[in-house]
Symmetry: C2
Subunit: 125 residues, 2 copies
């Protein structure tokens, strides 16, 4: 019997607003609290785990050893500015072609990928 969970709702809400693709659990926790609702870090953690299980949100790998998430939806990869940390997203198509080539070359059946470019954003370069 699913019961209302304001923590989970808040987290989902935060994730689904805006354009960020690099929410850490701590960020989410802060955002929820900034939104006026009390919540313990562990509750946010559990909410995130659950939403990830649901498929509502997705884990993003920034390569810093830290769990980061974004709302699900269209899949795309990211590029992050080494200087200011800005994260932008890329259209998926970058790897479309590559996957089949990799499958043929390696014999693996590909189920997914994580791609992260690093560079300098227009402002920082």
């Amino acid at each position: 019997m699913a019961r209302p969970s304001h923590v989970r709702d808040s987290v989902r809400h935060v994730l689904e607003e805006g354009e960020r693709h690099d929410w850490s659990i701590e960020d989410l926790h802060a955002a929820v609290i900034a939104g006026g609702r009390a919540a313990d870090f562990s509750s946010v953690f559990r909410a995130v785990m659950r939403l990830e299980g649901d498929g509502t949100i997705r884990r993003v790998n920034l390569g810093d050893g830290r769990l980061r998430f974004e709302a699900s939806g269209l899949h795309h990869d990211h590029i992050r500015c080494e200087s200011c940390g800005a994260v932008a997203s890329l259209p998926e198509c970058v790897l479309q072609r590559a996957e089949s080539r990799v499958e043929q070359g390696t014999g693996f059946a590909i189920t997914g990928h994580r791609l992260m470019f690093s560079g300098l954003c227009p402002n920082c370069r």
Copy 2:
């Protein structure tokens, strides 16, 4: 006045042998010890940090939150079997074309990337 460092040498040696692309520090520590030489975990840790700074070895992002390394040399990305954990490497060319397209599309100056495919290896599929 660089002085001999058997720990660093052992670590480098382990990394440069064989084909592994996913050495965790713990793995390296174990390998060094298995090779018959005593070494503390922290010494291995420092050796790894230093070799990475040197550019002798490179950090590999497997997406499990864990530091992993491989010997430098030709750059290539990896594909990992979700079932047995086997890691194979890919020829760099997969992204060659993509980078310039991304640069044009985003305005970023690309300096690097981390790409990790996941899938099922020929044995497990």
